[in-house]
Symmetry: C2
Subunit: 383 residues, 2 copies
C-alpha cells in the first residue's frame, strides 16, 4: 500500500497481505488519534542507566543536540506506516513464525495512531528453511543491485530486494515507510540485541532506551554504522528502522522462550511509536551502546580450513570485556590463541553459524556511553 | 582397506586416507599386543549405577544371559578394525572437525591392539555445511538402496552409502569392520547421548557403561531398535557400532566444549576396545537406558504449517519425566497443548532442527533398567 492510501481496520480477509501470497501487503490500524488525545506515559519515561558494578565504565561521548541520523531526517512528524519483517533469513524462525501468525491474526500489531504491515521478506528461503537461496538478502540492498536491470534471470534475492524496495521504499524517498522492524535470530549469546545504524539516530536510540526499560532481560545496543547509499541492509529501505537479533537460538529451531521475547520487544517498540505519535516527548539520557570496529576470522589453514574453534572462555561471552592476553581460539592441536589488541573490546556475534562463510568468528566492538538529546513531541503527519 | 590387509603404523603421509580425498582409507595402529600383555584396568571396572534420588525408578528388565544383539554375532573375538565416522550429516561439526583433524594427525586414535580408521562420511554435504545434499545419508543404508543399480545419475547419498558399505562392510559379512563409531550433534539438550541398537547388544552396553563411568557428565543411552535388513543407519554396515549425539549445539556451529567432550568419549570407547582385546573380562551390571516408542509431531495446520512450538516447560528437558497432563506445546494463539498419554515417558530429541521435516517434535522414550550379563574375555582375532 503506498503512502496516501490510508490503512483500514484489518481482518485476515481484508485487502492486505494474503498469508498464502506474502508478496501482498497487509496493514493494521485501529484508527488515528490526534495528538491532543495523548495517553499518560509518566511511568514509562526513560530513567538514567545505573553503572554496572565492577565493570569498566566507558567514557561518555556527548552529541551535538542538533545531530541527525545519517541517512534519514530526524523524526519530527508522527509516524504513519510501520512494517515488521520476518524471514529476511529463512532459517531464523522467531521472526518467520511471528510474521506468519500476524498475517493470520494481526490484532496484536494494531495501535491507535499508525498502521503496521507484517511481511515475510524471503518466502523461498523460508520454505526451504535456509538463510538464503542465491545470496544473502540482507546484503542485497546496495544501490548497484537495486538499480540493476532486473529480469527473471536475476538472482532471487536481488529480485526480492527490488520488490521490497518498491513496496516499502523507495529508499531515501518521501514515499518510504516511516519505520521498519527487521527480526533476526543468532546462534550467539546476544540476548535481545537491538541494532541501530548510529547513536546519532535519536529517535531509534529513544526507542531502544524505552525497550530496555519496559521489557525483561538485557537488550544490548549494536551500532552497525552507516555506509550510506551502499548500505546493503533491508532496514535501509525505510525512513528509519530497528533490527533485532535474539539469541542464542539454533537456526532452523523455534524456541518458545525466544519467540515470546521477540514478541514482547516488537510490542514495546510499537507502543513507543504510539506514545510518540500521541504527543509524548522524551527527556535526554545517557546510554551504553557498542559500536562495531572490525571482524576477526577463525584461525585457518592456507586452504581456508578451520584450524580450531572459539575458545571455551570466549564462547557465550558476547558483550563481555575481552582484554589483551585473553584466550580467543583453541586449535584442534591443543594450542591456544590469545587476543593481541592493545585495548579491551566487547565481542559480539561470537560463533554465529552464518558468519563462518563470511570469515567472522566474532565482531570486535567498542563500548561507549552516549548522551542522547531529548526527543521532542512530533507535529502532525508529514504532508 | 579390506580384511586381511593388516594396518601399519600410520603417519599423515602413510598410505591411508588422504585428507584432500577422504574417500581413501587411513588406519592407525601402533602394533598388536597379545592378550597376555594386558594392562591393569581394575580402577576402570564398571560399578553399579546409583539410583537418582527423587526420580522415579524404572522396573529392571532381566535379560537371558545368552541373549545376543539382533543383527550381529556376540563379540567373542578380539576386534581388529574400527572406524570413526564424522560428517554423516555435513552440518554437525564436532565429528566433521575431529575427523578432519584425525586425518591430518591420527596419533590420538592409535591403540595397541587394533587399527582405527577416521572417515568423513558425506564430504559434499560437509563442504556445503548442510545435513545432506540429496537425501539423508543416515537413512540410506536400506537393503533396497544398497542393492540398487548404482549409476552416476543415482542420488549422491545413495552412491555414498554404497561406497561406505563397500569400504567398511559389506553389511552382515565376515569382511565388515568390527566396530564403527558414528559422530553426531543435536540441537536438543541430550548431553553426551550414546546410541545403541538394543540392550541385547552386550558388547556395546558394556562400552556404554565403561564410558559412563570414565568420562565427565551424563551419557544417557538411547536404544533405537533393530529394524533388521531394512536398518537405514550407517552403523548397520559394521559388525557392531555406537552412535554419539552430543548437544545442544546448533548445526553449522563448532563449540569447543562439545568438541572436547566428543573427543573424550571416542578416546574412552577406543580404550574399552583395547582393554577387551587385551583380555579383560567385565562383570555383570544393571543399567538405565531409554527405548524409543514413537515420535510426536508438532501441532500443524491442515496445510502442514506449524501452529506452535515446543512448550517452554518441555524445552531442554530431554530424558526428564513427562507425565500425563504436562504441557508439551504452546500455540502461537497462546493456547497450550498437554500430554494425553496414560504413562510417564522420557522425551528425547526435543526440538531437534533436522526433525521438523521428519515430523518429529520429540521422541517418546520408555525408561528401563536392564541387567547386562558379564562380558567374557575374548579369544584371539577371528580367523
Amino acid at each position: 500500500m503506498r503512502k496516501g492510501q490510508t490503512g483500514a481496520k484489518v481482518s485476515p480477509a481484508c485487502p492486505g497481505q494474503d498469508p498464502v501470497n506474502p508478496g501482498q501487503l497487509l496493514e493494521t490500524r485501529t484508527g488515528f488519534k490526534p495528538p491532543s488525545q495523548t495517553r499518560s506515559f509518566k511511568n514509562k519515561v526513560p530513567r538514567e542507566k545505573e553503572p554496572e558494578p565492577g565493570r569498566e565504565q566507558p567514557v561518555p561521548v556527548r552529541l551535538n543536540p542538533d545531530s541527525r541520523m545519517c541517512s534519514t531526517p530526524s523524526v519530527r512528524h508522527q509516524l504513519d506506516r510501520v512494517a515488521v519483517m520476518g524471514g529476511t533469513h529463512g532459517n531464523e524462525l522467531s521472526g518467520v513464525y511471528l510474521v506468519k501468525h500476524w498475517l493470520q491474526d494481526p490484532s496484536e500489531l494494531q495501535r491507535a495512531t499508525f498502521t503496521t504491515t507484517p511481511f515475510l521478506a524471503n518466502p523461498k528461503a523460508t520454505k526451504r528453511c535456509v538463510r538464503y537461496v542465491s545470496q544473502d538478502l540482507n546484503r542485497s540492498f546496495t544501490r548497484a543491485l537495486l538499480t540493476s536491470k532486473g529480469t527473471e534471470d536475476s538472482l532471487y534475492e536481488v529480485r526480492q530486494a527490488k520488490k521490497i524496495n518498491q513496496l516499502f521504499g523507495p529508499r531515501g524517498s518521501a514515499d518510504a515507510f516511516d519505520f521498519i522492524f527487521d527480526l533476526h535470530n543468532t546462534t550467539s549469546n546476544m540476548a535481545a540485541c537491538l541494532l541501530s545504524d548510529s547513536e546519532e539516530n535519536v529517535f531509534t536510540m529513544h526507542m531502544c532506551h524505552y525497550i530496555q526499560k519496559n521489557t525483561q532481560g538485557p537488550c544490548p545496543i549494536y551500532l552497525y554504522g552507516c555506509p550510506g547509499p551502499e548500505n546493503p541492509f533491508l532496514l535501509s529501505v525505510g525512513k528509519n528502522g530497528l533490527g533485532m537479533e535474539l539469541g542464542p537460538q539454533p537456526h532452523g529451531v523455534l524456541r518458545a522462550d525466544v519467540l515470546s521475547h521477540m514478541r514482547a520487544l516488537v510490542a514495546c517498540g510499537l507502543d513507543f511509536i504510539d506514545l510518540f505519535n500521541q504527543g509524548a516527548s522524551f527527556p535526554a539520557f545517557d546510554i551504553v551502546a557498542y559500536r562495531v570496529i572490525e571482524t576477526v576470522d577463525f584461525p585457518r589453514s592456507p586452504g581456508g580450513e578451520l584450524l580450531g574453534s572459539v575458545h571455551p572462555q570466549l564462547q557465550d561471552k558476547d558483550f563481555c570485556p575481552l582484554k589483551p592476553g585473553d584466550p580467543i581460539f583453541q586449535l584442534f592441536s591443543g594450542k591456544e590463541i590469545f587476543y593481541e589488541g592493545d585495548a579491551t573490546i566487547y565481542p559480539a556475534f561470537i560463533n554465529e553459524a552464518a558468519y563462518y562463510e563470511k570469515g567472522a568468528a566474532f565482531h570486535k566492538m567498542k563500548k561507549c556511553t552516549f548522551s542522547i538529546p531529548p526527543l521532542q513531541a512530533p507535529s502532525a503527519s508529514a504532508p
